[in-house]
């Protein structure tokens, strides 16, 4: 990306300020630095401008200006993404939605809310909580991440096992299309007319346009919740318990697994009540009607015991339950206690392959001379191996990247996927051929062309930079950012 000439940059800045007002445009390199990466700090890219619209008209005007100038643009929420999806990979304009953060409407009787994309996920649950409702998708970053970012990544969270991911809750979207047109996809009713455009937009990683209003379902809070902790001396036994729970005809709200390294980090940091010497713990949550809940919890307890749990207990009260969940949701932060840095991996496997895959993950990471902590959504087979490393030690970062690539291949080999919730972004573009054929990718590229024909909306994401064996791919070759950093070779 060739930097903009100073004179042109100054005149564009004036024009952007004319649209958005003063204080809504950043262009000084120092200010832009804040926006050069997301939660995956391995990648960095500088924009020419970061803008802060407060209305759909603002967004449309900026997009039209970008098109006129031939500049790429990318939407950004809280920047908590973990795949580099909101980076301005090719310069241009970052459109921050953080000032569009209102709850516009709550319709309790129809159980829907209309919100702006910059609204923080948890704030929606806060807004509807007093009336007994909540917003179900609960990514671990829910205190910071935005609903708009959740739309881009089709975010999940622990409770998606029972309640589904973001797309299962979104009914309609007001979208600024990549050409600046404002269009509604879907609406307020459960059934939309024609193709499920809202359904394909969710999870398109910001490459189909920019959502400016979101109609989403809100759910009635369950009457009762019960959380069971299973403690295991053996990771295989904990994995087997996951299948045993499913086999007993139960669909818990969440089934999370935490391994020993993670337990110790969490206990050092927060003292949440996990036994430090356990090989693994399972956190199983049931919710729904109060009646019958004890009987179902008993089935969970039995499934854990029969799988070899050394201890199974039910959280006595809400305080203990919250503490256990705090441990789970704060695990990522707690790794700071045991390592200067870590890289979060995200892959999915069939639940029944858990014991084999966890063993292999540990072997792979150990073979690269590194340590791994696992804390993940075991109930739906969504792994999060966190590889610990020290960026100051030469060569460690590239070993992390290499181990990560092997873990992705492993997920693909057992019939799984290379991402369960973090997205492809910049990070995993070149892993796409592990699970998709050239025909699959070409079809996806044409779908993208239907929404985003010029490619200016979030360019350089999702699709592999080239196919293997030197074939001409759907996208022209350019070096992958990891490659440019000299961290890895192509596989």
């Amino acid at each position: 990306m060739v930097p903009l000439a100073d004179a042109r940059k100054a005149s564009l800045r004036r024009e952007l300020e004319g649209i958005l007002g003063r204080g809504a445009v950043l262009s000084d390199p120092d200010e832009l630095l804040v926006y050069e990466s997301d939660g995956l700090t391995l990648f960095r890219a500088l924009a020419d401008f970061v803008v802060f619209p407060t209305s759909v008209e603002h967004v449309a005007a900026v997009v039209k200006l970008a098109n006129r100038e031939g500049l790429p643009f990318v939407a950004r929420g809280a920047g908590t993404g973990l795949s580099g999806g909101c980076l301005p990979a090719e310069g241009g304009i970052v459109i921050s939605l953080m000032r569009m953060n209102r709850v516009l409407e709550i319709d309790y009787e129809n159980q829907i809310a209309v919100v702006e994309p910059g609204l923080v996920n948890l704030h929606l649950s806060w807004a509807v909580g007093p009336r007994g409702y909540y917003y179900a998708p609960d990514p671990s970053s829910q205190q910071a991440c935005t609903i708009g970012g959740n739309i881009a990544n089709n975010s999940g969270g622990p409770h998606t096992l029972k309640y589904g991911v973001t797309v299962n809750h979104v009914l309609g979207l007001e979208v600024v299309m990549p050409d600046g047109e404002i269009v509604w996809l879907g609406g307020r009713t459960r059934e939309s007319l024609g193709y499920d455009l809202a359904g394909v937009f969710v999870g398109s990683e910001g490459t189909f346009g920019i959502a400016t209003k979101i109609v989403t379902r809100i759910l009635h809070k369950p009457q009762a919740v019960k959380t069971v902790l299973g403690v295991f001396d053996d990771v295989d036994a904990a994995s087997a318990a996951v299948s045993a729970i499913i086999a007993r005809g139960l669909v818990p709200a969440a089934v999370e697994m935490i391994d020993q390294l993670t337990i110790q980090a969490v206990e050092d940091a927060f003292d949440c009540g996990y036994p430090r010497d356990a090989a693994a713990a399972l956190l199983v949550e049931l919710d729904g009607l109060a009646v019958g809940m004890d009987a179902q919890a008993e089935r969970i307890v039995e499934a854990c015991r029969d799988s070899g749990a050394r201890e199974v207990r039910t959280a006595r009260d809400e305080a203990e339950r919250q503490l256990l969940w705090k441990g789970r949701k704060s695990a990522f932060g707690a790794y700071g206690r045991v390592s200067p840095a870590y890289m979060v991996m995200d892959g999915v496997i069939p639940r029944t392959k858990l014991p084999y895959v966890l063993r292999r993950v540990n072997q792979i990471v150990a073979a690269h001379g590194l340590r791994v902590g696992n804390v993940f959504h075991a109930g739906d087979g969504n792994l999060h191996p966190n590889i610990l490393y020290d960026p100051r030690k030469p060569g460690e970062e590239s070993r992390v990247v290499a181990a990560g690539a092997e873990i992705m291949k492993l997920c693909a080999e057992v019939g799984g996927s290379i991402s369960g919730e973090h997205g492809i972004g910049l990070e995993k573009m070149d892993f796409m051929p592990l699970i998709f054929s050239a025909a699959d990718l070409a079809f996806m590229q044409r779908l993208k062309d239907a929404f985003n024909p010029t490619g200016r909306c979030n360019p350089g994401k999702v699709f592999p930079t080239r196919k293997s064996c030197g074939e001409a791919g759907p996208v022209a070759y350019r070096p992958h950012p990891i490659e440019e950093k000299g961290l890895a070779q192509r596989f």
């Binding site: 129809n110 193709y195 996927s417």
Partner: protein, 441 residues
């Protein structure tokens, strides 16, 4: 259709799997007979047939059980029917993963039987399950009363293998329950009526069979009160699997009785027995406060009739319409809609998946040309009503004369232009079901 491509198709699937002449009577839609009905025996054969037809400029109509064959604007050019009937196997079912991979031509009933033997089910209950195929149900986005709790195909399908109009094999999604790699192609094919790709194999999420399930009916003297009761239930702690409102005509069609011109509220529950017991005990308190009569259990055989209750009220309805509205507007829509028809002397029957705002109406008229005008007027008013409620209306079934006067699909507006762009990108030669769908697609 020229002989050469048809000969090639015969050589691809075997002449015994190509029907022509009088053997095509089962595939006649709106008086139009296809050039041939072709039954491939493998994914590769599907691909080769579509490619051959496409190269010859012959449109392809994917065909499952034929239960939704008359939905949409009929394909106007001479076309071939591509039947998925031979591709009807359960490819893979791993109970521990709660997933199954199934060929598109398997009937929903056959799939459920196979899954039930291992304690699981696909939580989708479309009408005509014994004939409707998995592929057809997804292409038509069909669902039944249990969608109240379990959602529709978009909530259940995790992977799809399709053959595109250009004869390419494309896979979207995967076999795992959570997956955000690449665009969510399965969403695109659900409800696309075979206009973007022919579903050949799909992977779905399953659920364990509930320990117990019950259906309860509550009669209401006024339909409006049944609507109030639905709101009361939705705001309560109860977790119904189905919430159906049937007017008097639709009630009779499924063997339920209700007072005079009243309505029946039908509510389903599942779970462990004590949960079902508790909910069945709570329900009458909620409904009585809204004017409901005595709650009584309904024979489980009624489940499969609920989705089609409006249509079943008349032997030959003049039209069946699906209206999508906000759940709170369901009862009002049913009452107003019936009133509009009554003013013109036309009887109607109404049934709704009330908790999700999906309403079906059937209108009856003597099959005389003079009756066309009032039928058309009624359908247009119903469509305006749905739109005024932020929704839309689709003509699910009607004779060609009615379809000629009232567009089958509602106007998709600006989104329709995006749909047209998608169709042009993904099926540039317009091979798959041309002209059948929304926005002229």
């Amino acid at each position: 259709m020229p002989a050469a491509p048809l000969d090639k198709i015969r050589s691809i699937v075997g002449a015994e799997h190509v029907r022509s002449g009088v053997a095509l009577s089962a595939f006649v839609v709106e008086g139009r007979t296809p050039e041939a009905a072709v039954f491939p025996g493998s994914l590769e054969e599907v691909r080769a047939v579509v490619e051959t037809a496409g190269n010859a400029g012959v449109p392809v109509i994917a065909w499952g059980g034929g239960t939704a064959a008359a939905v949409g604007t009929p394909v106007s050019r001479p076309a071939i029917v591509l039947g998925l009937g031979r591709l009807n196997a359960l490819v893979e079912h791993e109970p521990g993963d709660l997933t199954a991979t199934v060929q598109a031509g398997m009937t929903v009933a056959a799939l459920q039987t196979a899954l039930r033997a291992r304690g699981q089910w696909l939580s989708l209950d479309p009408p005509d399950a014994d004939r409707a195929t998995v592929g057809g149900v997804l292409a038509a986005n069909a669902a039944g009363p249990r969608r109240q709790l379990y959602g529709t195909a978009r909530d259940l399908v995790i992977g799809a293998t399709v053959v595109t109009g250009e004869g390419a094999i494309v896979r979207g999604g995967g076999k795992v329950v959570k997956n955000v790699a690449g665009y969510d192609l399965p969403k695109l094919f659900i409800g696309s009526y075979g206009t973007l790709g022919i579903l050949v194999e799909v992977t779905v999420k399953l659920r364990p069979l509930p320990d117990d399930e019950r259906l309860v009916a509550v009669p209401f003297e006024r339909l409006k009160d049944a609507g109030v009761a639905v709101r009361a239930i939705m705001g309560s702690d109860l977790i119904p699997t189905a919430l159906e409102i049937l007017d008097a005509e639709a009630s009779r069609a499924v063997g339920l009785t209700c007072p005079g011109q009243g309505a029946t509220l039908v509510v389903g529950f599942d779970g462990v027995p004590e949960q079902v017991d508790w909910q069945c005990a709570q329900l009458p308190t909620l409904t009585a406060a809204c004017g409901g009569g005595d709650a009584r259990p309904v024979d489980p055989g009624a489940w499969s009739r609920l989705g089609d209750a409006a249509r079943a009220a008349f032997e030959t309805p003049a039209a069946v319409v699906k209206l999508s509205v906000l759940p709170t507007l369901v009862a009002e829509t049913m009452e107003q809609g019936a009133g509009v028809a009554r003013q013109r002397g036309l009887p109607t029957a109404w049934a709704a998946h009330a908790g999700v705002g999906v309403v079906r109406a059937a209108v009856f008229a003597q099959p005389a040309p003079a009756q066309l005008t009032p039928v058309v007027a009624v359908l247009e008013e119903w469509r305006s009503m749905a739109r005024a409620s932020g929704g839309h209306a689709v003509l699910e079934w009607a004779p060609l004369a009615v379809k000629g006067a009232v567009p089958v699909w509602d106007d998709a507006g600006a989104a329709g232009r995006i749909m047209q762009r998608i169709k042009r990108q993904l099926d540039p030669a317009n091979v798959l079901n041309p002209g059948r769908f929304v926005a002229g697609i």
